[in-house]
């Protein structure tokens, strides 16, 4: 299952909600305001690093660029829309 997070994890619980259900090995992708979850140096960085043991974490390039975000947490993978489509080929998706 590919879990899609589109709300800022500083403001919404949808990221933490999703983690309660996501099994080990299920990828998580941040897009729209969700991309703020991938910012390096934020108070969420530790949490992101913690879950990377269990989940591949992706972030959508186009939404990073729109918001001027360049420094993202080490190990988070940038994908563009073509890459997102590729992930949905491999996985069913849940939009939180």
């Amino acid at each position: 299952m590919l879990h899609l997070i589109n709300k800022s994890p500083f403001e919404s619980m949808s990221f933490e909600d999703c983690l309660k259900y996501a099994s080990s090995g299920s990828p998580i992708l941040f897009y729209e305001d969700g991309v703020y979850g991938a910012m390096a140096g934020s108070s969420l960085e530790g949490r992101i690093k913690e879950i990377m043991g269990d989940h591949d974490v992706y972030v959508l390039k186009e939404d990073l660029a729109l918001r001027g975000l360049e420094r993202i947490v080490d190990g988070v993978k940038e994908v563009d829309y073509a890459g997102l489509v590729g992930l949905t080929e491999e996985h069913k998706t849940a939009s939180w």
């Binding site: 589109n6 709300k7 897009y31 729209e32 829309y81 489509v85 949905t88 080929e89 069913k92 939009s95």
Partner: protein
């Protein structure tokens, strides 16, 4: 693969509709089929031809209409959600048609992947 796209939010207020559009373009570019885009809840507001954004902004309805006609994709606007929000046959733009909620069930049955864009 055969994709279905479900849109639950209106244009401009949320990014959901922009994201769905970008996703649909990318899926087509990769050679996938889009079986249907279903506009539901505030998503129905994407379909109005009365939309007149400022000249330096994107025109979300026209983007969608072009996508539908160029690629012959089925765009269905939920009739109950539409009526509640002032969307009817007179204001629905080219490329969209108004239809029943059963067409979303059909899509869920038919599509290999159903992707939701929401608030």
């Amino acid at each position: 693969m055969k994709y279905g796209i479900l849109i639950l939010e209106g244009p401009y207020q949320h990014e959901a509709s922009d994201s769905a559009y970008q996703f649909a373009r990318a899926a087509l570019d990769k050679g996938h089929e889009i079986a249907r885009v279903f506009f539901y809840q505030d998503g129905v507001l994407n379909s109005t031809k009365l939309m007149e954004p400022q000249s330096d902004d994107r025109h979300i309805q026209k983007q969608w209409s072009a996508l539908a006609t160029e690629n012959e994709i089925d765009f269905v606007v939920c009739v109950a959600a539409a009526k509640r929000r002032g969307i009817n046959e007179e204001v629905v733009a080219e490329g969209f048609k108004i239809g029943g909620l059963g067409m979303l069930t059909d899509l869920a049955i038919e599509a290999d992947r159903l992707i939701t864009f929401r608030a």
